[in-house]
C-alpha cells in the first residue's frame, strides 16, 4: 500500500463526515488560534518597538558606561583607569564594540555612519554656521519654544508633533546662548506624556495596552553628527561608549554593570564586595528596558500558553478518540477487506493528521485574522502613539511578528494525531469483526 493511498483514504474519511470534521477543526482551531494570535501580537509589539528604537543605529544598541569617581575612594584604593579598562573588556566579553565618542560642549558627537538611520535629510545641505544634530521631540519643542499640555487631546498632541517636525527637520534652530543647530532627524523618546506606548496616555482605552504599556520610550540624548566637516573643537569623553548588535547582548551587559553600582550605603552594609561604582544606559530611547519588560510578558504568556496548549491537546486527544470510536464499523470493514492492523492504523494516522493540519491552518488563519482585527481597530491610536513616541511621520503601524512558539503549537496539534492512534490501538483490533460490522 502506497503512502498516497493512506492519505487518500484518510482524506476520504474527512470528506465523508464534513460536518463532524468541521466541528473538530473549529473547536481545536479556536483554542490554538487564540494562542497564535497572542504570540503574533506580543512578538509584533516587541519587534516593532525595538525596531523603532534602534532604527537610528541600523539595529545596533548604543550604550554608554561610566566608571564613577566613587564616593568611597577615601577608604579604598581607587584606580579609575583600571575600571575603564575593565568596562571596555566587559563590552567585548558581551559581544559589543567599543567606540570613541567626542564631546562638543555638553553634547556628544557621533560619526554620521553610526546614526545613518535617523538622518532624514542630506547632510550636505547643512549651513556652515550650524551644527548638524539629531534630537528627540521633547528637546526640539524646547528649542522651538512650542509648548503643549500633557492633558491635551491626542489629535492636538499629534498636530504639535507634526508642527515640530515641519519646523525642525532640515531647518536651523538657534537655541539659548546663540548656538545654531541644523536638525538632520528626530530621535525616539517620551513626548507629550507618553512615557510608554500605552494608548491610555492619549485618553484611549484599549486592551492592547497590556502589551503597549511595556514599551518604555525613555529619552534620547542630543547627538551631534560628525560628517567629516565638523570644524568645532571636540574632546574625547571619559565615558565608555559601545555598540551591541542585539538588544539581548546590551541587556546582559547592562545587567552585569548594575551589579557593580555601589554607593556609600552599599559599602557600609557590605553589599559591595568589588567596591565599584559603574553605570550603564542606552543612549537612544529604552530598548533594554523594553526588552526586559517583554521577557516578563513572554514568561506570563508561556505559562498561560503551556496551560492552554495542554488543555487544547487533551481536548484534541479526546475528540480524536471519540472520532476513532465512532468508526468501529469502518475499521472492521477495512480488516474484512484484507487490511492489516498496520494499514488501518496508518489510514487513521493520516486521517487525524489531516484533521490536525486543517485545524492548524484554521488556527493560523484565525490567529492572523484576530491580530489584523486588533491592528485595524487600534489603527488611529497606534499611529498617534508611534508619532509621539518615536517622532516619526504619521504612518500606518502593523503589530505582527512571527515567533517559533507558533511552530510549537502547530507541532503539538500534529503530534496529537499519532499519539491518539497509539492510545487507541485496541480500537484497531481485527477481533470480533462481524459484531463491529453489524
Amino acid at each position: 500500500m502506497r503512502l498516497v493511498d493512506y492519505f487518500r483514504l484518510g482524506w476520504a474519511n474527512i470528506v465523508a463526515h464534513k460536518k463532524r470534521a468541521a466541528i473538530v477543526v473549529v473547536i481545536v482551531g479556536v483554542m490554538f488560534g487564540v494562542l497564535i494570535a497572542g504570540s503574533l501580537l506580543i512578538q509584533g509589539v516587541e519587534n516593532t518597538a525595538l525596531d523603532m528604537m534602534t532604527r537610528s543605529t541600523d539595529g545596533k544598541v548604543l550604550v554608554r558606561s561610566v566608571a564613577q569617581q566613587y564616593s568611597f575612594c577615601k577608604d579604598v584604593a581607587c584606580d579609575l583607569e583600571a575600571d575603564k579598562a575593565e568596562l571596555r573588556q566587559r563590552v567585548t566579553d558581551y559581544g559589543g564594540k567599543v567606540i570613541e565618542v567626542k564631546m562638543l560642549g555638553q553634547d556628544y558627537v557621533l560619526d554620521a555612519d553610526l546614526v545613518q538611520g535617523a538622518i532624514e535629510t542630506e547632510l550636505s545641505k547643512a549651513p556652515a554656521d550650524a551644527t548638524p544634530v539629531l534630537a528627540p521631540l521633547s528637546t526640539l519643542s524646547n528649542w522651538l519654544q512650542i509648548s503643549m499640555s500633557e492633558r491635551a487631546a491626542a489629535e492636538v498632541k499629534v498636530r504639535t508633533a507634526q508642527q515640530i517636525r515641519e519646523q525642525a527637520v532640515g531647518q536651523v534652530i538657534t537655541v539659548m546662548g546663540g548656538k545654531k543647530y541644523w536638525v538632520a532627524g528626530i530621535l525616539p523618546g517620551s513626548f507629550g506624556g507618553t512615557s510608554t506606548l500605552a494608548l491610555s496616555s492619549l485618553g484611549r482605552k484599549n486592551p492592547l495596552d497590556i502589551l503597549l504599556s511595556n514599551v518604555e520610550l525613555g529619552g534620547s540624548a542630543v547627538l551631534i553628527i560628525d560628517d567629516g566637516d565638523l570644524r568645532a573643537e571636540t574632546v574625547i569623553t571619559d565615558e565608555i561608549w559601545a555598540t551591541f548588535d542585539t538588544v539581548k547582548q546590551a541587556e546582559r551587559y547592562i545587567a552585569e554593570i548594575a551589579d557593580d553600582n555601589c554607593n556609600v550605603l552599599d559599602v557600609q552594609a557590605k553589599r559591595c564586595p568589588r567596591m565599584k561604582q559603574y553605570e550603564a544606559a542606552t543612549v537612544i530611547s529604552s530598548p533594554v528596558m523594553t526588552y526586559r519588560n517583554f521577557e516578563g510578558v513572554w514568561l506570563v504568556f508561556k505559562i498561560l500558553a503551556i496551560a492552554l496548549a495542554v488543555i487544547g491537546s487533551i481536548v484534541s486527544l479526546s475528540t480524536y478518540t471519540r472520532l476513532v470510536g465512532k468508526d468501529t464499523k469502518v475499521i472492521a470493514l477495512y480488516h474484512a477487506m484484507g487490511a492489516t492492523k498496520r494499514q488501518v492504523v496508518g489510514v487513521y494516522v493520516a486521517y487525524l493528521l489531516g484533521l490536525s493540519l486543517l485545524a492548524s491552518l484554521f488556527s493560523l488563519a484565525l490567529g492572523v485574522g484576530l491580530v489584523l482585527i486588533a491592528n485595524l481597530l487600534s489603527a488611529t491610536g497606534l499611529m498617534q502613539v508611534f508619532t509621539l513616541g518615536f517622532g516619526v511621520a504619521e504612518t500606518r503601524v502593523w503589530l505582527f511578528g512571527w515567533n517559533n512558539w507558533i511552530m510549537v503549537f502547530v507541532g503539538l496539534l500534529l503530534v496529537v494525531a499519532p499519539v491518539c492512534v497509539v492510545l487507541n490501538l485496541y480500537q484497531f483490533s481485527s477481533k470480533k469483526l462481524a459484531q463491529k460490522i453489524k
Binding site: M1, R2, D5, L9, A12, N13, V15, A16, K329, V330, A332, L333, Y334, H335, A336, M337, G338, A339, T340, K341, Q343, S430, K431, K432, L433, A434, Q435, I437
Partner: protein, 248 residues
C-alpha cells in the same frame, strides 16, 4: 476448496447461538444457509469467514484452521480466500464506486492503474460501468448491491460469503441479485455461501443448510440447480413461522 466445520459452538454470554455444528461444504458449491432471523445463520457465515470468533471448534479451509490465523496471514486470508457481501452494502460513502470495488486491491498493494482496470472489468461484467465514478449515495440499491459483489470479487477469492443479499430489496431486484450471484458462481468457479431467509435463493442453491436454534441440517440438491428450477423439497420441514415461534 473444501470447508470443514468441526464441533462449532458459539454463545453470547449465556445464550447459545450455535451448538456443536459439524458441516462440510464442498468445493464450488452454491450453499444457502437458511433460517429465520436470529437462527444463527449470519453468525455461522461470519465464523466461516473468520470475522466472528467461535467459543469452540474449528473451521478448516484447505486444511488450514481459520481461527488460528493472525496478523498478516489473517489479512492474506481476507484478501485472497474470501470475499464478503455484507448485509446493508457497507460501501464507503466518501469513495467512488470504482474505489469501493478496488478497496481490497488498495490494501493488497495492487497498483492504481491495475486497480482501475480490474474495477472496470468487474463493473462491466456486473452492468454498473456507468456508475463507476459516482459516489454510493448517487446510485440505486441494485447498483450498490452489484458494487458490493464486485468488491468481493476483486481479488478473485475462492469463497464468496453473502449475508442476506436480498434483504430490503423488492422481489424484482431480489431476483436480479440472486441471478447475479448465480452468474458469478458459474463464471468464477468459486464456492458461494449465502445466508438468507429468502425462499428465492433456495431455487439456485446446490446445497441448502437449515439453521434452527443453533443446529444445522443440510442436503444437496445439485440436480435442481443444474436445471435452475424452483425448489421442490423443503430441507427443513418446519416453516418459517414455526422458527419464529420457537425463537420467541
Amino acid at each position: 476448496m473444501s470447508i470443514h466445520l468441526k464441533n462449532i459452538n458459539k454463545s453470547y454470554g449465556k445464550k447459545q447461538v450455535l451448538s456443536d455444528v459439524n458441516l462440510e461444504i464442498k468445493t464450488n458449491a452454491f450453499v444457502m444457509l437458511k433460517g429465520v432471523s436470529g437462527s444463527g445463520k449470519s453468525t455461522l457465515l461470519s465464523i466461516i469467514g473468520g470475522i466472528e470468533p467461535m467459543s469452540s471448534g474449528e473451521v478448516v479451509i484447505d486444511g488450514q484452521d481459520v481461527s488460528s490465523l493472525k496478523g498478516g496471514a489473517r489479512a492474506d486470508f481476507y484478501r485472497h480466500k474470501v470475499g464478503f457481501i455484507f448485509q446493508g452494502f457497507y460501501l464507503q460513502p466518501q469513495l467512488t464506486i470504482a474505489e469501493n470495488i478496488a478497496l481490497m486491491g488498495t490494501f493488497a498493494g495492487v497498483p492504481k492503474q491495475e486497480r482501475r482496470e480490474r474495477a472496470e472489468k468487474l463493473a462491466e461484467d456486473l452492468g454498473i460501468v456507468e456508475v463507476l465514478d459516482r459516489l454510493p449515495a448517487e446510485v440505486s440499491g441494485g447498483q450498490a448491491e452489484r458494487a458490493c459483489a464486485a468488491r468481493a470479487l476483486f481479488m478473485n477469492p475462492e469463497i464468496i460469503l453473502a449475508d442476506e443479499p436480498t434483504n430490503n430489496l423488492d422481489p424484482e431486484n431480489a431476483k436480479n441479485v440472486i441471478e447475479m450471484l448465480q452468474k458469478i458462481w458459474q463464471d468464477t468457479n468459486t464456492t458461494m455461501i449465502v445466508a438468507s431467509h429468502d425462499p428465492m435463493v433456495e431455487a439456485y442453491a446446490s446445497q441448502v443448510i437449515s439453521v434452527k436454534e443453533g443446529k444445522v441440517r443440510g442436503e444437496e440438491k445439485t440436480q435442481e440447480v443444474a436445471e435452475n428450477v424452483a425448489v421442490t423439497e423443503e430441507i427443513d420441514a418446519a416453516p418459517a413461522a414455526e422458527f419464529a415461534e420457537s425463537e420467541a
